[in-house]
């Protein structure tokens, strides 16, 4: 039995995985081969030392921390679950749609007002002439405050 084939046999012998015949052949080889016998002893001793390695205890509250982390994890997973949160937000979305629909209806029942109409009403007088007050806009000696007051106080019944 050549020594280089003995490595797997040493492991199997340690684990008791050799047949009776193979174990006998193995033992006969060990009696003649110092190197293999030393390797076998080393394997046995190191395995024994490692298997006796003292365990450390987990810190108190380890399980509690795992469960707390898991709850956080589940919370995050819940956020990522679009079905869950879209279902939860469905009533809010429905309410928003209803409000938007009502607003749309209220706009439709009132007379539509275009910006251009407002400007026309503001600038042009009833007889088609430009309001004399509008001409103030082109007068250089009129103060800004005066113009602002004119615009703000002009009513729809009596423009300027």
């Amino acid at each position: 039995m050549p020594c280089d084939e003995l490595e797997p046999l040493i492991l199997r012998r340690l684990d008791g995985r050799l047949t009776v015949e193979a174990a006998q052949r193995f033992e006969r080889h060990l009696e003649r081969c110092d190197e293999c016998r030393e390797a076998f002893d080393t394997q046995k001793r190191v395995a024994a030392i490692l298997s006796a390695r003292p365990e450390i205890e987990t810190s108190l509250g380890f399980t509690r921390r795992v469960m707390a982390n898991l709850e956080t994890e589940l919370g995050c997973l819940d956020l990522l679950n679009w079905r869950a949160w879209t279902f939860r937000l469905a009533p809010v979305a429905a309410a928003l749609i209803m409000v938007a629909a009502l607003e749309f209806e209220s706009i439709e029942v009132t007379e539509s007002l275009e910006f251009s109409d407002l400007v026309t009403d503001w600038v042009v007088a009833q007889d088609g002439e430009v309001s004399p007050l509008v001409s103030l806009l082109w007068q250089e000696d009129v103060a800004t405050e005066t113009l602002l007051e004119v615009v703000l106080t002009a009513g729809p019944v009596e423009p300027f």
Partner: protein, 223 residues
């Protein structure tokens, strides 16, 4: 999916096997995973079953991670992450291997990721080897026994010896000699062929021989 017919009631004589996560055989001689009932319940959404699995394996996972990382605090972090990853992946567990084997696979990958992270941190942060090689904290060792000091020294010496090995050799020999997995299970956990696993374990023990030499007396004296 998991085979429901593989479920068996765990009898009292099998208690030790269940506690250690070792496979047991049913009346027909089939190998049955002692964790399968809890796993199935956890998959069905039982947090109590998940918690029971955590309690059953927390010490082993923390110790395994500590062997790989040589840092008790980091080992607990890795163990925490391992269990969270386990929960995320539970529905993908098909029962083709023991739950314990599957859990060690997750722990191994998580520990390797932590080692890579630490490596990057040290490369860029300039942490010294002495800092890295901090021994396991004294508060992590069970106290109160008459031989606490010996326990502390033994464990520290073993961990220092293990730290001299490459990650692959270390994982293989720890899974075999400390955690008690068989070669087939180790092959699954590490993703290496059985022949490679055997070779790694053999080489690891040969390399550890000189480093562990001082412990021979202690070990033999305690037996």
């Amino acid at each position: 999916m998991l085979n429901a017919d593989r479920l068996i009631a765990i009898s009292a004589p099998r208690l030790r096997a269940v506690q250690t996560g070792r496979a047991v055989s049913d009346t027909s001689g089939r190998c049955v995973d002692p964790d399968l009932k809890l796993v199935n319940e956890a998959i069905a959404g039982s947090l109590e079953a998940f918690e029971a699995l955590v309690r059953r394996y927390q010490t082993r996972v923390v110790n395994y991670a500590a062997s790989i990382l040589r840092d008790a605090g980091e080992a607990e972090d890795v163990a925490q992450e391992t269990f969270i990853r386990m929960y995320r992946s539970l529905k993908r567990f098909r029962g083709e291997s023991l739950f314990k084997t599957w859990l060690y696979t997750i722990a191994t990958n998580t520990a390797r990721t932590a080692l890579d992270r630490r490596g990057r941190r040290e490369r860029f942060g300039g942490q010294s080897l002495d800092d890295e090689a901090q021994s396991l904290g004294a508060d992590s060792i069970p106290s109160g026994g008459p031989d606490v000091e010996t326990t502390l020294m033994t464990r520290d010496a073993i961990d220092r010896a293990l730290a001299t090995l490459s990650c692959d050799l270390r994982a293989a020999v720890i899974l075999r000699d400390v955690e008690g997995l068989d070669y087939k299970e180790i092959a699954k956990v590490t993703g290496a062929p059985i022949g490679t696993v055997e070779s790694r374990i053999f080489r690891a023990r040969q390399l550890l021989r000189k480093v562990l030499q001082p412990l021979r007396g202690v070990h033999e004296g305690t037996r």
